[in-house]
């Protein structure tokens, strides 16, 4: 990998920005070049939110990424807006708890994950973003999973009870992502 770009997209409040930041922090801790670019503009509470993370071995050029290799959509409007933009050969993760549709593209890998349901079972629906992030890291291996958990501990170390829920959410997501990757390799 020389450079990987991923967009997280959903409603404001779904932890989109946090998921992206955690990935960027992890990349930085692993010695990579990283950039985290938020959507910013006239936004409203409850409106759409998205951010793009670039993880690279080299100096990062354009921070504007129109066709990222990976896109994680947390809600239906994000699927409609971003689904078509995944780079051919890339990965689309759909939060199937809230999105009742899928992508008909056959030139990308599509992974549907009931992230809200998994997060609920792990202890809090608020950890939905961690389920998706875990699945993304499992399916792509962009950063080491252990490094991701280390970074989460570093960022949330003081909130012990929440940390356990987030660990669990990450683990569950990671397993689904890893399995999908293995299946893809097997073809």
């Amino acid at each position: 990998m020389s450079q990987y770009e991923v967009t997280f997209a959903g409603f404001g409040g779904q932890g989109i920005m946090t998921a992206g930041q955690l990935l960027a922090y992890t990349g930085m801790n692993a010695g990579k070049q990283v950039a985290w670019i938020p959507s910013y503009g006239p936004e409203m509470r409850g409106g759409t939110a998205y951010c793009t993370v670039v993880v690279s071995d080299e100096r990062i050029g354009s921070p504007i990424i129109n066709r990222p290799q990976g896109i994680c959509v947390f809600n239906r409007p994000s699927l409609d807006k971003f689904g078509p933009r995944v780079k051919p050969g890339g990965l689309l993760i759909i939060n199937s708890s809230l999105v009742d549709a899928t992508s008909d593209r056959d030139d990308i890998q599509v992974l549907e994950i009931p992230a809200n349901d998994i997060a609920q079972k792990a202890g809090s629906g608020k950890a939905t973003n961690m389920v998706v992030l875990g699945a993304f890291v499992g399916a792509t291996g962009i950063v080491e999973f252990d490094k991701l958990k280390e970074t989460l501990t570093e960022k949330m170390g003081r909130k012990k009870d929440l940390l356990q829920i987030n660990y669990k959410a990450l683990d569950e997501g990671y397993e689904l992502g890893r399995k999908a990757k293995e299946e893809k390799v097997k073809g």
Binding site: Q21, A24, M28, I37, P38, Y40, G61, S62, P63, I64
Partner: protein, 356 residues
């Protein structure tokens, strides 16, 4: 110090603190309000002060007064706010005072929009205020460079006793990247040891800090003294970076700030497709790397020079002047908050080369 991940606006605030800029006057405006949010907590920790003024007009005049004390003073704002400060900027320059203005540019004119733009190039480099003055203008293209240039801005403002502007854009302000700071806050010179600030005139003659000279001889003398400083800046402060400028380059791109990063991607992608393009990225917009652009542009292999900007064409006038008509100077730009994609810049380059 280890690298930390920081939003451009917050990193700019911390950079100012590390440079000893402990006197901050500002009025909030998107897309740079996070600088104030950061500094309102940070400055009291280090004995600094943040005054939120009632308007940008007041900010400019507070800076004028504070700068006269010899301390390191600064403000951050965005385009419409910087416009309101122009009168004070002219006075500060006329009075030979050091102050740092950080402009996180948004689309204009008027209230415009809140998305990134480079449409304040003329205002920054040619003087938005009245009179024979210039700002030294620094243009970062990454969050780390924003940190480095903000710190440099204070040193240069005090070296030349002239206002210095850091010209960023909304993208630099909003983006998060890994940054490194110096370990500690810079020890700055004590104004009591300087020969110009207003420090109380006990035991010495009063110093007069002003920009009003009713005697034309005296006003001309002051203006030529300013001109001498700008000449020295041209000799000593030109900064730029070359990216993949090689002997087989057909097109030389000139681009700064966020736009230059997009050009970097364009160059990398075109290299893979077998088209050699190079970039000269001005880091100082004034003084402008005029001689350096001419030297590169005049090379035999260069077929055209292309100024790529997030404006309808401003820096291109300086590029044109540098190239002196020896090579075609082209322009490509988007504005109003639209950042050109690598694809559209690539298409334009191919068009210049007659390949599309």
């Amino acid at each position: 110090m280890a690298k930390i991940l920081m939003k451009g606006n917050e990193a700019i605030g911390e950079a100012a603190v590390r440079a000893g800029g402990l006197h901050y006057f500002a009025y909030p405006i998107t897309p740079q309000s996070e600088v104030g949010e950061y500094l309102v907590k940070r400055l009291p920790e280090v004995g600094g002060v943040f005054v939120q003024a009632e308007s940008e007009v007041a900010v400019g005049n507070m800076l004028f007064g504070a700068a006269a004390s010899g301390k390191r003073v600064f403000t951050t704002s965005s385009s419409p706010g910087i416009s309101l400060m122009q009168e004070a900027i002219s006075y500060i320059a006329g009075a030979h005072l050091p102050a740092v203005f950080i402009n996180i540019v948004r689309g204009g004119p008027g209230l415009g929009g809140i998305l990134p733009a480079q449409s304040d190039y003329f205002q920054a480099t040619k003087g938005g205020g009245h009179g024979d003055y210039r700002l030294l203008v620094l243009a970062p293209s990454t969050v780390q460079e924003a940190v480095d240039l903000v710190m440099l801005a204070f040193d240069l403002a005090h070296k030349y006793l002239n206002p210095v502007m850091v010209l960023g854009d909304g993208m630099i302000g909003q983006m998060m990247e890994a940054v490194e700071f110096p370990e500690s806050i810079k020890e700055t010179d004590d104004p009591m040891t300087m020969d110009w600030p207003a420090t109380g005139c006990e035991g010495r003659d009063p110093r007069i800090i002003k920009s009003l000279y009713l005697d034309p001889q005296a006003l001309e003398k002051n203006s030529f003294a300013l001109a001498d400083k700008y000449k020295k800046m041209k000799e000593e402060e030109v900064r730029y970076e070359l990216y993949k400028v090689k002997d087989d380059c057909q097109v030389l791109l000139i681009s700064y700030g966020t736009m230059a990063r997009i050009c970097q991607t364009v160059i990398d992608e075109m290299e893979e497709e077998g088209v050699s393009v190079g970039l000269l990225r001005p880091i100082t917009l004034f003084p402008f790397p005029e001689n350096e652009i001419r030297e590169q542009a005049w090379k035999e292999n260069i077929r055209a020079v292309l100024s790529v900007e997030m404006s309808t064409g401003q820096m291109v006038e300086d590029v044109d002047k540098a190239v002196q008509g020896r090579k075609p100077v082209e322009f490509y730009g988007r504005t109003g908050g639209i950042v050109p994609s690598p694809e559209e810049v690539k298409d334009y380059i191919l068009k210049i080369l007659g390949k599309k």
